[in-house]
Structures are given as C-alpha cells and as structure tokens.
C-alpha cells in the first residue's frame, strides 16, 4: 500500500479509529497494529507475507536461544542461522537473477556457449529493509547490546510495523520495541505534527518528485542519444532532486504516521544536500542505513582499529556493498565505489591538506559536495554503463552538438527547484523543521500547510511507487 493512495487514507482512518478506541486494551491494540501491518503489506502480494513470518519466527527463536545460551559456539550457531536465513532470502529474491546473469557471462567468456533462462523472481517489497532490521536485532542480542523482546507480539510488531515496513527508516530494536511495552497515545500536538509531517512527505513525493522532476529525469536517462550538456546536467539534477524528495518524502510520511500513533521514529534525512564533505553527507543521507552499515559492516571489518590501509579497505568494501544493497547491478556498485573513493579522498585531504571551514567557504564546499554527489547519481539511475557513460560525456564535454530534448521551461523548472532545494538544505543544516516551526506564527504554518495540501490535490498523483520500494 502506498502512502500517496486513497486506500491508505481509508486504511489509516480505520487503524486510528481502532487505536484510539477506549474499548480495547493495549495488547489488543498491538494485535490490531500487527494485523493492520500484514494487511498493509499483503494487499500488494499476499503470499509474500510468508517471508515476513519466516523472518520473524526465525529471528525470534534465534535471538531467544542466543540470549539464553551460555555456550559461545551455540550462540554463534544461532546467529549464523539467522544470518543465513535473512541473507539467503535477500540473496535469492534480490540477487538471484544478477548472480545467474554474471555466471552465464563468466562461462561465456571462457568460450563455453551456455544460456540460462532468467528466473524472473518477484522482488518482495521492502525485503532489504526488514531483513536488515531483523538482523540488527539478532546481532545486537548476540553482542549483548540489546535485551530480547519481552513478548513475541512486540517483536513481530517491531519487524512489521507498517509505517516503516517497506522503506524504512531501519529502526534498531532498542529504539522501537521498548516503545511497545507501555501504552502509547499521541498528544494532540504530536498528532497534529504527525499529520503535518504526513502532508509534507506526500507533497515531496507527489508534487516535487513525481510532478516537477521525474518527467525530466526519465526523458534524459531514457534517451539513447548523445545529449546536449545542458540536457544531461538538467536530467541529472532532476534525478538528484527526485530521489531525495521521493525517499525523504517516504521517511517523513513514516515518521509522521508513527507519531500519530504516539510512536517516535528516528530521523532518516537531515538536509543532506547542505553537507560539507562526504562523511557529513552520509551522516545526513539515509541515516538509518549508513549507521547500520557502520555498526554491522564497517566496524566488524576492522573500522579504524587496524591502521589506515585496513580502514580504507573496510570503507571501500562497506560502500561497495552499500551500493549493491540498493540494487542488483554493477552500476550500483560503481555508485557505492565512487562514494567510497570520495570518503577516502576526504580522509586524505583532512590528513595532508587540512583547512578551516568558515561560513564563507562552507557554502562553496557544500556546492562542491553536492556536485560530486550528482555525478554518482548518474550511475545510480542509469540502467546500463553505456547510458551512464554517454551522459557523463555530455556533462563534461558539454556537447554543444548533442541532441536537445528538453524545452526551456523544463530546464528553468528543474534549476529553480534544485537551487531552492540546495539553499534550503544549506540554511537548515544546523536546525530542524520543528525548531523553525516553533518560531513561526500559526498563520504562516496554517497557510503553508494548506498550500501544500492544495498542490497535492491539483497534482493528482497517479499513485506512483516510491523509488526505494524496489530496494
């Protein structure tokens, strides 16, 4: 179910009706939330709920055994089982075809004529998110960083909680399960703020991502011609805006909906396009994934504990696998690799060419960071290396003889949106919407809110899927 759909409005009203009904106990309300979460997921493809159930049961059993076992090898065995099941699901459903394709290519490169029928596996929506979430729970129990959930119901709800089930934020057990122990009710201010966040999230998705930016990005990345430099840059900028508004929009909706239930989810984006440098960027972009990768991949790989070379290797491996997490294609690996290279270069700069960041050079450095991030988006969005390479050629050789496919208004529209986006992120980088809203008059917030709502109505979104659902 999509947040930007009519069915979700009906669904949410029913859930809120039951949730705030005085007839039910907290346990009944949690059961209702769990059931609602399965309905939320199952209305897309009912049989795939089975995967959620298996993941839930396996991690519940494994974590209990790990918590109770005293023998280290038994604890390790149960952890291994959880990892094998979760990564097995992920590997089969997400990377099955990719592995097969590459195997065939490898065999063919040795001159062996072999073809394989594609497996055409359905990618279960949000599998990358919920497997990472359940794995973090079991690993934290294994490392004794978290206590096991008190009841199976709390754990199942943690795995399946509908606001963040299919596209995050990836929440740690200690941040969410504990909230289920005591009855939650949103205060009226929390509830209204939740509705406001939901409106902002849907606005980001429907108006900014789908209406203003996606068409230009689709045209440019869908073109097979060598494009004019302006078109290539405009398409890339459009995609950088689209992916931010699409994904941040989903996270904002998720946080808002959870808040309407009195449950707090962590921020997933903190004005990333105002970042100064790439380590700053990854503290602001998809925070729940980058912190997951840091805690469960980068640090176990050695982190910065074994010297500089090992640290760079760990960093690069983390970013490459982070790229692969986004999609089963080499282009995603290159995207991750570029970010890894940026991070390494930044560390080298800090070591050998340190300089003070002032308010004067800050905006320039943020602009440089944003521009470099844009280059990586080319690999993220392009469906093949040919397309990516063609676009990069257009962007950097500027190709005055390249094909012009965008009209002037589309270019102006994208540039205005992206300039406003960049400046907003720069100005908001050290504050938050909540802080800003506290200073604003209710009239300003009210009228702003109404304008967002009206634009959503006028945009009449076609219920397009969020980009991150495919990850």
């Amino acid at each position: 179910m999509l947040f930007n759909s009519l069915s979700f409005i009906v669904f949410l009203v029913i859930v809120l009706g039951f949730y705030y009904s005085t007839y039910f106990t907290w346990i009944s309300k949690k059961r209702m939330l769990l059931l609602a979460s399965y309905v939320f997921y199952g209305l897309w493809n009912p049989p795939l709920i089975l995967l959620l159930w298996i993941s839930t049961v396996v991690d519940w059993t494994a974590s209990k055994r790990i918590a109770n076992a005293k023998d280290k090898s038994r604890r390790k065995l149960w952890l291994l089982l959880s990892l094998v099941v979760n990564l097995g699901f992920l590997g089969f459903f997400k990377y099955g075809d990719f592995v097969l394709e590459n195997f065939v290519a490898l065999v063919n490169s040795f001159g062996i004529a072999y073809t394989a029928r594609p497996m055409d596996i359905i990618l279960p929506m949000g599998i990358s998110f919920y497997t990472f979430q359940t794995m973090s729970y079991t690993i934290d129990i294994y490392k004794r960083k978290a206590k096991p959930s008190k009841t199976f119901l709390d754990f199942a709800l943690y795995v399946t909680f509908f606001p963040q089930l299919v596209a995050g934020p990836i929440v740690r057990a200690k941040d969410l399960i504990t909230q289920f122990y005591k009855e939650k009710r949103a205060t009226s201010d929390q509830f209204i703020w939740g509705v406001f966040l939901l409106t902002i999230g849907v606005f980001q998705k429907v108006v900014l991502a789908d209406t203003l930016l996606s068409g230009v990005a689709d045209d440019v990345f869908g073109s097979s011609e060598l494009l004019h430099g302006v078109d290539a840059w405009t398409g890339t900028l459009a995609f950088s805006g689209q992916i931010f508004f699409d994904f941040a929009g989903y996270s904002t909706c998720a946080i808002g909906i959870a808040l309407m239930l009195g449950i707090t989810l962590p921020d997933n984006f903190r004005y990333p396009y105002g970042s100064i440098g790439f380590s700053d960027f990854w503290k602001r972009w998809h925070i729940s994934l980058s912190s997951w990768l840091r805690d469960y991949l980068y640090i176990p790989l050695g982190g910065n504990r074994y010297g500089i070379t090992r640290m760079y290797v760990a960093l690069m491996l983390t970013m490459l696998l982070g790229g692969l997490w986004h999609g089963a294609a080499w282009t995603f690996m290159v995207w991750g690799g570029l970010h890894g290279a940026y991070l390494i270069l930044e560390k080298l700069q800090k070591q050998y060419l340190p300089f003070q960041i002032t308010k004067w050079n800050g905006v320039f450095l943020a602009f440089i960071t944003f521009s470099c991030v844009n280059i990586t988006w080319v690999f993220f969005r392009a469906r093949s290396f040919d397309t990516a390479w063609q676009l990069l050629k257009s962007m950097f050789y500027l190709q005055p003889n390249g094909l012009k496919i965008l009209d002037s208004f589309s270019i102006i529209k994208v540039c205005v949106v992206i300039i406003v986006l960049f400046l907003c992120h720069w100005m908001m980088r050290n504050t938050s919407l909540k802080t800003l809203s506290k200073k604003a008059s209710p009239w300003v917030i009210g009228v702003f809110w109404a304008v967002l709502f009206l634009l959503i109505v006028i945009a009449q979104g076609s219920g397009e899927q969020f980009i991150y659902f495919q990850f």
Binding site: S7, I192, T211, S408, A440, I445, F453, A459, S462
Partner: protein, 345 residues
C-alpha cells in the same frame, strides 16, 4: 507555536481552496468524467473469463469506442457487449491475450482502423505498448490497486477537478499538464499540436461518446484534425507482413476452439479517409485481411445507410451518428446471423 490553531487555519484554507478550484473549473465548462484508465479496462477484461458463448466482445481502437454505443447495441441484440477497445491502439495485443489467456469462444468483433491495425508489432511502439500495458495490468494488478480504483470512482464521478487522465491530453487540469502549457522560447522543435479531450466516458463499462462541443464547434474540431494530420505525416510506414502474420495465427487458434470472429471497419471521412486511401488502400489491406482471415466482415463503405455519415473531426462518429451506426450494424449482423439475439432465438 499553537499547532491546533495552525491546523484549523490550514483546514479552513484548504477546504476553501479545494471548493474554489472545483468551482473555477466548472465555470470553465469542465464536468466530472470517468477516466478511461487501465484499471477501468481491466474490470471489463476480467469479465471475458466468465462470458457465455453468446456474448460479444469489441476490440479495436478509438473508432470502435466512439462508434459502438453499448446501450444501443444491447437494445438491438438483447445483450450488452464487453468493450475492450483502446484509444490509439492496435487491437492485436488484446486479441492475443484473449486467445492465449482465456477459454472464451464467443464472438469477438475486431474494429480495424488501418493506420493502427497494420502499424506495428514492435513492443515499444505506442500502438502496441499502450494496450499491452493494460493487458499486463490486468494480469498483475494488486488488490490495493483494485481498491484504489474503486475508491477513486466516486471522486471521478463527482469532482470536475479530478481530470487527470492516463492519456496525457492538453486540457487535463492536473499540475503537470498545467505547467506543460507554459512555453518559454523554442529550444526544441514543436511536437504534436495540442490534443484535447473530445469524448467522454458515460458509463463504468466504458461507453465513450463524442462531446457536443466537438460536433458544434468547428474550430475545436479543427484542433483535433490537426493532430490527425501530424500523426499521418510522422507515423512510420505500416508493417503489414508482421501484423498480418501475428493476427492470423491468433485467428486460427481462436477459430479452432470454436470462437467466432468478425471484422468491422468504422467510418472515417475527409482528410483521414483520403490519407488512408493513399497509405493503406482498401484492396491491399482490408480486403486482403478479410480474405486471409476468412471471417465475416463489415466495411462502412459497403452499406448505403452509412454513406452519409460524417465524422466531425474526420475520424470518429458523433454520439448521434454512433447510435445510428451501432443500431444499423447490429441489424445487419443479426440479419446475416453473424450474431444472435438470445432473447428472440
């Protein structure tokens, strides 16, 4: 900041804004319409799985949609048909879907608009991709997509502001289309002339009628003919060999299981007819198709009662003429025993 006050201000402003937006577009002549989208089509396609052998299913392009009026057909034949034609589309992917994915062995009437029927079998070409997307949607639609469609229908039927359609027409009033109307400079060559909505779905089972404005406002009708001229000039050459081969294979399979196929050619006039005569002459295309298919066929030029029918925008019948055409065609088919009236037989 007082959030409750902000919420109340937002609520009142939003309600006033939405009502104002609705009233504004109604004052501009917009009325609520049902969008002929893939979800609406899929509901009709779903019916084919359970149809009796005395049922009639219409396939084709927009001429079949405009030309066949379901109420009139039902009145004449005693049975309401299923309308599966699609605007700007080849009927081949839908016929293939019926042959390959159903056991239906009743009557299928395929409307032949030569420019679309013989256009292509290339999956990414618009006349093929558009209907194929609908076939795929029917096959893959989720429960939530079905629910969304059912929930959107009352809004479409009661709000003029819900005008965004699956077809990207230039008089849609969604934000994307409104922004598209802003022209700055001429960086890229002009594409297709503005294309406006000239028909309206009148029932949920996809009965399409030409609007009165298209019939009475010749300047408006001229905007549509300019689009046909543009399409005529820019369309690639027909691919008769591939389309015929694809279709005839399905015809053979459909007939083998007892299915009854009828070919139908709805009227086109003036410039469009002239263009068709030039690019896709009847004897080379229609006559050859009928001969090779070896099925009953009805061409509007073969019947005196259709001689005086004129298409206001050269390609489709007005609502009034469509009722006449449907009634006369049904009578002809009944007389030929091409179809039967279950109430009188």
């Amino acid at each position: 900041m007082n959030l409750k006050k902000a919420f109340c201000i937002a609520l009142i402003t939003a309600v006033v804004g939405v009502v104002g937006w609705e009233l504004y577009w109604r004052s501009q002549g917009y009325i609520p319409t049902i969008d002929d989208n893939k979800a609406l089509w899929a509901i009709q396609r779903d019916r084919v799985d359970t149809l009796d052998t005395d049922a009639v299913v219409f396939l084709g392009s927009s001429r079949t949609l405009y030309g066949i009026q379901l109420d009139t057909w039902e009145k004449e034949t005693g049975k309401r048909p299923v309308q599966l034609a699609n605007v700007g589309s080849s009927p081949l992917p839908v016929f293939h879907d019926i042959v390959a994915n159903t056991n239906y062995s009743g009557t299928v009437v395929v409307g032949v608009a030569p420019g679309l029927f013989f256009s292509t079998t290339y999956p990414k070409a618009q006349p093929w991709a558009w209907p194929q997307a609908r076939v795929d949607h029917h096959k893959n639609r989720t429960y939530v997509q079905r629910l969304n469609h059912q929930l959107s229908l009352p809004l479409q039927q009661h709000l003029a502001l819900m005008s965004a359609g699956e077809e990207a027409l230039d008089d849609n009033i969604d934000l994307k289309t409104l922004l598209k109307q802003i022209k700055v400079g001429n960086r890229i060559p002009e594409g297709m002339p503005p294309f406006y909505k000239f028909g309206r779905m009148t029932t949920l089972d996809r009965n399409l009628q030409m609007t009165d404005r298209t019939v009475t406002d010749t300047a408006f009708a001229h905007t549509i003919t300019k689009v046909w001229e543009f399409i005529g000039k820019t369309s690639p050459a027909p691919d008769k060999a591939a389309t015929m081969a694809f279709f005839l294979k399905d015809v053979k399979a459909f007939k083998a299981r007892g299915g009854h196929l009828i070919l139908m050619r709805c009227p086109s006039t003036y410039g469009v007819r002239a263009g068709e005569n030039f690019m896709l002459p009847r004897q080379d295309y229609w006559d050859d198709l009928v001969e090779q298919s070896d099925v009953m066929a009805y061409h509007f030029e073969d019947y005196p009662q259709f001689k005086d029918l004129k298409c206001p925008e050269w390609s489709h019948l007005s609502a009034e003429d469509a009722h006449f055409f449907t009634a006369e065609l049904a009578k002809l088919m009944l007389a030929d025993k091409a179809i039967i009236n279950p109430q009188t037989n």
